[in-house]
Amino acid sequence: MLQRTNSYICTLAALVAAAVWLLALPQHTEAAGARTAWVSSNHIQVIDLDTARVIGRLPLSEFIHDMDFSVDGNRVYVGSSKGLRVADANELRFVQQVSTSMTKAVAVSKDGSRVAAIHPGDREATQAARKAGLPLPPAKITIYSTLDMKEQSSWHVHAMTFDVLFAPSNDRVYVLVPPEGMVYVHDLSGAVLDTIQLVPRSPEGSHQGAMLTWMALSPDGRSLVVPGTTADRSFVAEVDLGNRRPLDERVVHQDLGHNRRIQGLAWDDDGSGVYVTAVNSMVKFNGLGLPIAWESMPLNYVDIEPIPGTNENVLVAPIFSKSNKSGGVAILGENGEFLRTVELPDMSPYFVAVRP
């Protein structure tokens, strides 16, 4: 009797194991062969761009501040409220926690050899400084080798440093410091090579209340754009990095004609322009900052990413359907038409990264 029971248990266990294996297999196979977008809130969901289906989930319970793919598309570097992690883009799982410090932004060098990350200062020290009215503890930029994710260098920067990007030459980084209205250019040891004032400073040293959010570098590396919003207007600050204009005209502000807050920002992968999403609208600007396409949006899409090699874009909306209480993802065609959408009942996506 006991032998028969054991036999049943073994058979049942084998069946369960086989079922688990079968359930797991298609997800990995799908991820390896599909065009995918990774969208995030406090976890990640992987969307098949051709079918607009969720094909994988990476649980985390940490708010994700930024994601960036490795050059070959096989790794995803994820900066969250509690660390810097590496995910396997084929197996759809985290494979390494590189740091336990909050990570505000991540960037992969064009040659794929390095990752730059912004780690804000210590929380307790920040709170104490705020109460005492003292300057906040600095944040830190850290450069990691993608070979082993070991730290290669690090240096301190302004406490509210918000974004970092590698230059195409891979030997320097652009660092956005919104409270100063400034982009700093550092070499990889942290030395300041250049500064770019995006917004004029007032006599008191402030930057006139302009809110600067992300940076986006054109594919040819000759143009850096940073959107900004003030109480009166929204604009795109375009920085000439290719010596096309005189030095005193290096930064040009292109007015968007409204004061809607700019949210998503991404260069088209063919270099034809930069996409900007604001409240209820999407605009594409050409390299000279002139609007070349405008699309009214029924929703508030907070991030956008072009799908490489196509004229399609992926957009994410934290509130996609109020009635269904879902977030959502939309894939738009070249004329701004909706090709596919997917509602995410368990997610309000804030960021999207498309696998190369």
Partner: protein, 98 residues
Amino acid sequence: MSRIKPLNIKARAVEASTDRDVRGYAFGDCCASFAPGWEVGTQDNADPCPWKSDLSLCWGTCYWMGQVPDYISYGEWLDTCGNIQNDWRNLCTIPDNG
């Protein structure tokens, strides 16, 4: 707003007033800061941008300190909130430590 009908003299006076008591004081149509705190558009239409829809961006840039915690001091604020419409009860209450 148009569905609300005034029932007394004071309410009719409020309705007749051209000085709106709800106004976006920072950004006209975004979900930044509304006084006295209701979520409506500048023309009293339904909110064009629910407060939830770019919460993390308000948070991340630390621009509207009164509405959201700063991300350095309260980095875990959104950690248990995967879907802001369903999980908003999980948002941490930030203590006022003076």
